[in-house]
């Protein structure tokens, strides 16, 4: 989804209707639910993961960037600021984009097929992918993006009003609004909704483990299986992402992985093979892996879209490595969008883009051979 940072796609009517809902966060001043926030009058709330250092410095303990931040400065994410030795998040409840999407759009293919997920984001990100599709919100600071004050309860009200059965922290990078993710997940559970997260997985273990029990499903963008790619294309590192994947898999949370294949940068047979082998060994054969198609954008406009044969080759390599559920993305109508039973080879869920055309799943199993198909189906 490409968004203009000057446009706000929130469900404002829903926000206004929920104005009487209790505000669960401490704002710098009293704010009306749905109030548009533009400029530097941002809500500030003490961050949950940091430690104080000498001379009013702080060290952020949220993501592996582990920024040391002096007074009046911000971390790499641009949404956390040191105010005289107290580290604050400036984006709790400050949604810059809210929309009810099909869960297939995240993409989750093994989570409640055909349902809507109330998807939300704030400005900011802890890495800088040169190929970011949502850079107009992820690569800006919150005061540069038109946002609305939408505390967790109002978000949940908006979800229920839109008919969504899930929530999804997505679009930019949920790690940088992790306190909001945590509190929104609690509110969602209370309302009978399933909270999910779509993330780069670039997070320290402690905050991840603290929030994981609140989540039903997590999708991780594994950008590459090479450290140099993470260094050169994101200004980040691969190792913490792999550690996050293992932690998520060990938790009682459904996990899916997306790999955006970019021509010449991360699409070699060797890299795809290494990645698939690592997934099978460390996460298991049943974790779905989506290979998706790159389109030129942001700072990476000199490369063509990923050729479909490249995606198909990756699909074949991953299957040959023993992964049971491999998908292709951003290639509407391709058979790689379908869920196929690894037992008998029959199509169980047929998709067209984000649409579910047919769902033959029967009690979480293949209707033909009765093999259990793992996922969060209800």
């Amino acid at each position: 989804m490409s968004m203009d940072r000057r446009r706000f796609t929130a469900l404002m009517a829903a926000g206004a209707a929920a104005a009487a809902a209790p505000v669960a966060v401490e704002a710098a001043r009293s704010r009306r639910v749905g109030e548009i926030v533009e400029g530097d009058d941002l809500p500030a709330r003490e961050a949950s993961w940091y430690r104080k250092l000498a001379e009013d410095r702080v060290e952020c303990e949220l993501c592996p960037q582990a920024c040391t931040v002096a007074d009046a400065e911000r971390g790499t994410c641009g949404v956390r600021e040191n105010r005289k030795g107290t580290y604050v998040t400036l984006v709790h409840s400050l949604a810059c984009s809210v929309h009810a999407d099909p869960i297939e759009k995240k993409p989750f293919f093994h989570v409640m097929p055909g349902e809507l997920a109330l998807s939300y984001a704030t400005a900011g990100c802890n890495v800088e992918c040169k190929f970011c599709q949502n850079w107009e919100i992820s690569q800006f600071r919150p005061e540069q993006v038109r946002s609305a004050y939408l505390p967790p309860e109002a978000l949940v009200e908006a979800a229920k009003r839109s008919g969504a059965r899930l929530t999804a922290a997505t679009y930019s990078e949920p790690v940088i609004f992790w306190e909001y993710v945590r509190d929104a997940a609690r509110a969602a559970i209370k309302a009978g909704l399933a909270p999910t997260v779509v993330s780069n997985g670039y997070i320290q273990p402690k905050p991840l483990q603290e929030v994981l029990p609140l989540l039903r499903a997590v999708k991780i963008d594994l950008k590459s299986f090479r450290e140099e790619f993470y260094r050169d294309q994101l200004r980040a590192t691969l190792k913490p992402v792999l550690e996050s994947l293992v932690l998520i898999r060990k938790a009682d949370v459904w996990l899916e992985i997306v790999v955006l294949l970019i021509p010449t940068l991360n699409d070699s047979e060797a890299e795809v093979r290494d990645l698939a082998r690592w997934v099978k060994t460390n996460l298991g054969a049943d974790v779905p892996v989506h290979f998706t198609r790159f389109h030129p954008t942001y700072r990476l406009t000199n490369l063509p879209p990923t050729p479909v044969p490249t995606l198909e080759r990756a699909w074949s390599i991953a299957r040959a490595q023993g992964l049971n559920f491999v998908y292709l993305g951003n290639v509407p109508s391709h058979p790689g969008e379908n869920t196929v039973c690894p037992g008998c080879g029959e199509v169980i869920i047929r998709r067209l883009g984000y649409q579910v055309l047919e769902n033959r799943l029967s009690g979480g199993a293949c209707p033909d051979c009765k093999r259990e198909i793992p996922g969060v189906w209800r």
Binding site: R6, E38, G39, D40, E55, D56, R57, C67, T68, A70, D71, A72, E73, R74, G75, T76, C77, G78, E128, K130, W135, Q139, F140, R141, E143, Q144, R235, Y298, R299
Partner: protein
């Protein structure tokens, strides 16, 4: 102000200095560094003095724009917001950036439209202060305030990012003058104001070379640190390496042998 402008340009007087640097049709943007609030930002009276000299030198008052990242920062530093009309203007970039990023070396950023579109000439007006990550924030570092994503570029002591921001033709081809308010400076604990670390440097600096201005600020900060028994920035592990990077780009000179200090 008139004296330093004259000395910086080798002119006999301020009017001549301004005429060397600017044409009457120029739209002159003056980038202030106001992060430190009223106690560690360019003094409004000094900025006014520069504006007066520009006007005396033939720049149209309405074509002078004082700016910073946000209007609120300017107000906190004691400046009044003015937009439009035939008097010098003063306002923040706020949300007005280019719609597409442009790449300069290691950075990819949307520049403030004031810089990319509106202004034909630029002046950097900073202070002389320590910066916890970059080492020094005076001349070149001030230009972080014209890109939308400076928070992405603070690793590796901001090197080579600071130099890359200024190397972009949008800045490099328009930057004519650097002024530093060094009446009060800060030798540690920056970029925010810290009362215990400020000292009366008592200098106002002007230079047509933004790199030389930073080199001078570095020396001034280190001299005070040594006087206080503190380690130099180099010894403290945070020398402003972006200065030599900027010099290597040809943005100016950054060695003791090359920088000439002229007392006005």
């Amino acid at each position: 102000m008139g004296a330093v402008l004259s000395a910086a340009t080798g002119s006999t007087d301020a009017v001549s200095a301004v005429k060397i640097l600017f044409s009457p049709t120029d739209v002159v943007g003056i980038k202030l560094n106001c992060l430190g609030g009223k106690r560690l930002s360019p003094r409004p009276e000094l900025v006014d003095a520069l504006v007066d000299r520009l006007i005396e030198g033939g720049v149209s008052p309405g074509n002078i724009i004082l700016f910073e990242r946000s209007s609120r920062e300017l107000e906190r530093a004691g400046f009044s917001i003015r937009r439009g009309g035939d008097k010098p203007q003063c306002f923040g970039t706020d949300n007005d950036y280019d719609r597409q990023p442009s790449v300069s070396g290691s950075i990819g950023s949307c520049y403030a439209r004031l810089v990319s579109q509106t202004c034909t000439a630029l002046i950097g007006f900073g202070v002389v202060k320590d910066h916890d990550l970059a080492g020094v924030s005076a001349s070149l570092k001030n230009w972080y305030g014209v890109i939308h994503n400076p928070n992405k570029y603070h690793d590796n002591q901001c090197d080579p990012y600071v130099a890359d921001v200024v190397r972009h033709p949008l800045v490099r081809q328009k930057l004519r003058l650097t002024v530093l308010d060094g009446v009060t400076a800060q030798c540690h604990g920056g970029p925010a104001y810290r009362a215990s670390e400020v000292f009366p440097l008592g200098r106002v600096v002007a230079s047509t070379d933004p790199v030389a201005a930073d080199f001078w600020a570095w020396r001034a900060i280190d001299a005070e640190r040594v006087r206080r028994g503190m380690p130099t920035l180099e010894a403290a592990g945070r020398p402003p390496r972006f200065i030599s990077t900027a010099a290597s780009y040809g943005l100016g000179v950054g060695t003791a042998a090359q920088v000439i200090e002229v007392e006005a």
